[in-house]
């Protein structure tokens, strides 16, 4: 029997992803999450940028918009603002979201528009074959950092917090069941929700960083993730190089952008109509 979530997949499989790539795990978690959320497929819109991860929109059966590198949030903002009834998801790679799309990302956080942004963080530019991204840890190797990366990496959680996001969680592909629930929680938050998913790219990252087998990278994630709760009991030294997973923060009662927009439009429209009526007297 086909699993129930397969109804959310299109028939375009085979996909382009390498064996052992983390993207597939995120895709099935996404399908399971939609099933749990009980959304009608017709009401769900998924927008993506360019990169291996962004190809996901090709394979899932929703209203899908595969845009340009870094620009998914801009497209999604226009669609969501004009049709707020749509359940809006954006899928991005780490380069897509934090390098070329970084400006759109921080401004989406600031606006608090009701979009669920899923950043698949494989710490590398996968599609172009392994160049360092703003999420490649210092010291790791990439095709454009053959002697080791001297750049410092962003921390998506802190970046989002600073930019005014109202919901930020981090998940990973090893804890796939938890990931499904995290997607559900992120979607249920009213406002801009950021879900960073720590993933793997065995081909363009693992091979250059002594983790050539997909299982090596899985093992790495398994060994280095700690929950937000556990992290609270650990020292900074103990937390060095650890991946802290779970819900990092959630702020309620910050006005959501499309609601504020619609409120404003309704008020201005009402005043204007009254003024017109007054003038006609």
């Amino acid at each position: 029997m086909r699993p129930v979530y397969e109804k959310y997949f299109r028939d375009n499989i085979p996909h382009i992803w390498c064996a052992g790539c983390g993207n597939g795990i995120v895709m099935s978690a996404f399908a399971r999450a939609i099933e749990k959320l009980g959304y009608d497929q017709d009401d769900v819109m998924v927008v993506s940028g360019i990169g291996c991860s962004s190809r996901m929109t090709t394979y899932i059966d929703f209203n899908t918009l595969h845009t340009a590198h870094g620009r998914a949030l801009a497209f999604a903002t226009g669609a969501k603002l004009s049709e707020p009834r749509l359940k809006m998801f954006v899928i991005m790679g780490d380069g897509d979201a934090a390098a070329i799309g970084g400006n759109h990302f921080i401004h989406s956080c600031r606006r608090n528009i009701d979009i669920t942004a899923i950043i698949i963080n494989n710490a590398i530019y996968g599609m172009t074959g392994g160049q360092y991204s703003p999420l490649t840890p210092t010291g790791k190797k990439a095709t454009t950092a053959p002697y080791g990366n001297i750049d410092r990496a962003f921390d998506i959680v802190e970046l989002s917090r600073g930019a005014g996001a109202t919901y930020v969680a981090r998940g990973d592909i090893y804890h796939a069941a938890q990931l499904t629930n995290q997607i559900v929680d992120a979607a249920n938050h009213k406002g801009f929700s950021v879900l960073e998913v720590v993933s793997t790219c065995p081909i363009s990252y693992g091979r250059y960083n002594k983790m050539p087998k997909p299982t090596d990278m899985m093992q790495y994630i398994k060994d280095n993730t700690v929950s937000v709760q556990k992290a609270a009991t650990m020292t900074a030294d103990e937390l060095k190089d650890k991946i802290i997973i779970g819900e990092h923060f959630k702020i309620e009662n910050v006005p959501e952008y499309t609601e504020e927009h619609n409120k404003l439009v309704a008020e201005v429209k009402k005043d204007y109509l009254e003024k017109l009526k007054g003038g006609a007297k």
Binding site: H66, R71, A74, A76, G78, H104, Y272
Partner: protein
């Protein structure tokens, strides 16, 4: 004159006329980033859209602006953005996205002198070839250049109609002078403009978002209204999914051009004055065409056989018509506010006829006297 008509006649700026045209055309979404000399378009829209329940948003940059506009269009809104030189450069990649994904969108470019920051408050026509070729890859494009306030109003409506009808980005190439010009604004009530909407399948008809239809323009439905499909900037087959299959790609990319180029007769507007017996032709567009028209009128009054051709549509360029107009002329003079960008097109089609560019790139307008003097050199 009734009170009512007096109320309707007023002085309006070109940029405001553009905003009014967009409202008339049924635009429901605007996203933009401020830049001189286009900012008044955004300001008028920010003021007027909420009153009539439509959507305005100021984005973080011009890339976001055109992205949001295309996004709104995919869910069924008539969407537009307005900018000027530097912002127009930033928008190029996504103009190509709208072209390949065939999403209607209108981009207003109130041209200022460049390159780079250039002369921010001065008019130019330096972006007219960028309009044609600015985004990478083969595609065709529609670009319109109005030269008065009323024409800006009507051509903005036309820009939306063409974007919808041909599922394409349409560029309204104003210039600083047209954008900031104040003129009498009076709608022609006897001739209500037609408002067009994107082609949708009839009841019961199967929807194929990128069908290779005879007319070149397949049906389009908004995302999120029950017909789930995929939109991508990758080359795609009829159902919208990526293909690298050479036959399909070549058919698709060919259709993107053909749907516009083969309809040049329907799309391109060219205004002619005194061309019948003209020995010398002046061809111009935008603000320069206002001076050119003055010059030609004066020369006619002096008894010289000079004709005037004005391009209202810059792209698609009507090769056959321009070639026919140039044929047998002593010379064709092309006054424009750049170093001869459209003159190249005229040269390309005016076989054997000397085409003389008349260039101005210092932010000043060309004067009728300068044009008269130039024409007299060849008469």
């Amino acid at each position: 004159m009734t009170n009512n008509t007096i109320n309707k006649i007023r002085l309006v700026q070109g940029n405001e006329a553009c905003a009014l045209g967009a409202i008339k055309a049924g635009a429901t979404f605007y996203s933009g980033y401020p830049i001189t000399p286009s900012t008044e378009v955004a300001e008028h829209i920010a003021n007027k859209f909420p009153r009539i329940g439509r959507h305005f948003i100021q984005m973080e940059d011009e890339i976001a602006s055109i992205g949001a506009a295309i996004g709104a269009s995919t869910v069924g809104h008539k969407a537009f953005t307005a900018t000027s030189g530097p912002g127009f450069s930033l928008m190029q990649e996504l103009i190509g996205y709208a072209a390949i994904a065939e999403i209607p969108v209108v981009i207003i470019n109130v041209m200022r002198a460049g390159p780079s920051t250039g002369l921010p408050t001065m008019p130019a026509a330096g972006d007219v070839q960028q309009a044609r070729w600015g985004t990478h890859g083969d595609h065709s494009i529609i670009a319109i250049s109005p030269n008065s306030v009323m024409e800006t109003y009507y051509e903005t409506i036309n820009a939306f109609n063409l974007a919808e009808q041909y599922r394409t980005p349409v560029l309204l190439m104003m210039d600083e002078k047209v954008g900031h010009l104040r003129e009498r604004f009076e709608e022609d009530e006897a001739n209500e403009p037609v408002i067009m909407y994107r082609p949708a399948p009839k009841e019961g008809e199967k929807f194929v978002p990128y069908a290779n239809v005879e007319c070149g323009v397949p049906h389009i439905l908004p995302l999120g209204k029950g017909e789930r499909y995929h939109i991508t900037g990758l080359t795609h087959g009829e159902t919208g999914f990526y293909t690298a299959q050479p036959k399909a790609v070549s058919k698709f990319v060919g259709r993107l051009s053909d749907k516009i180029e083969l309809n040049v007769d329907k799309i391109a507007k060219i205004e002619e004055n005194y061309t019948d017996d003209a020995e010398v032709l002046v061809l111009s567009y935008g603000s320069s065409a206002r001076s050119a028209h003055e010059a030609v009128k004066t020369l006619r009054e002096q008894g010289h056989k000079v004709g005037m051709v004005r391009l209202i549509t810059l792209w698609p360029f009507h090769d056959a018509k321009i070639a026919a107009l140039c044929e047998g002329k002593k010379a064709v003079i092309v006054p424009e506010m750049n170093l001869g960008q459209m003159a190249r097109e005229v040269q390309r089609v005016a076989k054997g006829v000397p085409v003389l560019p008349m260039c101005r790139v210092d932010g000043d307008l060309m004067t009728p006297d300068e044009i008269i003097a130039k024409v007299k050199e060849v008469l």
